[in-house]
Amino acid sequence: MKGAGERPNRSNFGGSGLDRRRFLAVGATLLAAGRSSRAQAAETVRFGLTPVFLTSDLELLESLKAYLTAQLDRPVELVQRRTYQEITALLLSEQLTAAWICGFPYVQYRDHLELVAVPVWRGKPLYQSYLIVPRDRAAQGFADLRGDIHAFSDPDSNSGYLVTRALLAEMRETPSSYFGKFFFTYGHRNVVRAVASGLAESGSVDGYVWEVMRDLEPDLTAATRILRHSEWLGFPPIACARSLRDTAMVRRLSRALYHMAADETGRRVLEMLRLDAFAPADPEIFNGIAAKYDLVKSMG
């Protein structure tokens, strides 16, 4: 039963990951034909969202949409998908103007993507990954989690997968060899739910999401306990396809994001997101994630 929850087709490592990158590149080329309607597409800004934050909050989505619409003076469509992978594919194929993705896909497709902005949380564009366990569990460290039923967020998530995967790689282990069983919940909040309910005995979760949830759903986080904090890593950024980097729309979008803290609606959005601001991004902050990706990749 070990590793029954693993989905090789979703693995980002080894040959399959490269294959997919190639596939995505080909897909993007093919879709270039569809870009005949580019002018029309430019009319509507399509902004992709991943479950890096609490996408379930409709009020937040409405406010964000209202802010962007007002700032860009264009209709804005917020595009959501269940997995990171779906959003990444849409982004690479230029079907999205930009998307809020995770640091991990950014590192994976660095050559094809360009940073638009990065959120500032508690004064820094950084966040951590947490390893959480049920509050009443006696485990002292990662070593106690061997044989667990473990909940990951998404195979393309840095905090919800890569960090723990790299930790295992350092121990010459894989999720299949180390955990009794693991599964993906496709949402950081779901990881917290899985651990709080006891469905999973441990979980890998976005530290920023866990902290925001502590404000919004204290009962849920109270049922869990942080067993391990990762080092500080680059906060999930907003990125666009490199080919669109210099378009007026992307430039306007960046400005709108940087301006957010100065606008009333923007401040309300930031408040709901518990973020300080959006700032121009330095690709260097993702080096930590890149190192983890390399480590895992080197394991084969």
Partner: protein
Amino acid sequence: MRVPRFKSWPITIRVPLLVALLMVGISTVLSQRILARLSETQSEHLKSLTGAYLDGLSTSVVPNVLREDVWEIFDSLDRAKQRYAGLNVLYSIVAKADGTILAASNPRTFRTQGTVPEELVSRLRDRDLYLDETSKRAFSRRKLVYQNLDIGSIYAEIDISGLMAERNEVLLTLIATNGGLTLVFALFGYVAVRRMVRPIEVLNDQVERLRGGDYRPISDDRLGHPDSEFGRLFRRFNVMAGSLREKEALAARLAEEEKLASLGRLTSGIAHEINNPLGGLLNAVDTLRKHGAEPDTRESALDLLQRGLQDIRDVVRSALVTYKGSSHPERLSRRDLDDLKYLVKQDISRRRLSLDWRNEIADIIPIHGGAVRQATLNLLLNACAASPLGGTVSFAARLGDGMLVISVADQGAGLPDAIRQAYEKDEPERSLKGDDRGLGVWMVKRLVAGIGGRIAVETAAGRGTLIRLDIPLRSERGMGNVA
């Protein structure tokens, strides 16, 4: 206290009680039916509710079971918990066909990759719903089938204490309502039937009075409507009581007439008794007048006079005691019986009979002396009349077993059946009154019955007759009065 047998209870209690019991019985049966129906409805309701719950779940869960997507299965179970708030699902488990748990709504109890508890599996081995009323739980299972392949099962345990509480509430309401209604109906039935059968009590009282010799009719205010059943019955009863009253009055008059006839005969006997010595007495007076100077003759005449007068005195006194009554009617002395000899002496001597007299009464006994003497005298006179010339009339009186037993026997031709029956039957035929031998039968019967005695007759054609009176002595209290 011993409870009397139901059959001996008055009908005025029995019938209303039966009505009340019937009400209780009907109410019990009805309540039982309602509860059984409720139980069935509840089961059906639960079945359809769990069916809807499990059907909804299985639809969303099947693709995830195929992929063994633990999170999605859990998420479905978790969301269903909120969606089916009307059904108190304690937990639900989704397991693979081999019994390995994929996810449960409470994963702490049913760990993913664990096995479904054997107890749960065995309870639902050949059914989809199992109700355990003691633990107030229902267990349900739904097989997950994909392309005709059994890919797993959903198990659920449901708290049915709400249903049970509802049933108990209905039971209590039923008991309270039915109990109350039954009580009211039973009471109403009791009162109504009691009213209906009340005339029976009146009739019973009246019949009881009749037995005691009170022939008064049912009073007008109790007669009721002449068209009602009891109204008609009471009126018929009054007619009957009236005719009984007339009959009784007739009988009393007859007895009085007989008494007079008997008295007449006795009087003639007494007159004869007095007349017999009178000739001798007058002779003695003559002798005294003529030869009174001779001492021997005078003595002998005076002696004769004295004996004659003594005889007369005995006869007169006996008659007085018998018919005027003694100063102590509640008692009887030996002498009171012995004196009867004087009253039958004339009949005895006239028919040259011998009298066998055995009086074993030692002293005074507590009994109605007047009635005993009159009855005995009548029997003796009848015996004298029945005996052939020169025959013997026997009299015996003794005490035995709290009774005074008096036997009078003759050597006559025996009593005709009619007269014998007249003595022994409760009511003698009136046609006897003209028969000489039957003279006084009516009176004897009345006298003996009046003091609670019985008459027995032994008779055979040509071999005489023995009539025995068994008369109970009066009670201790009566004795006290005597003393």
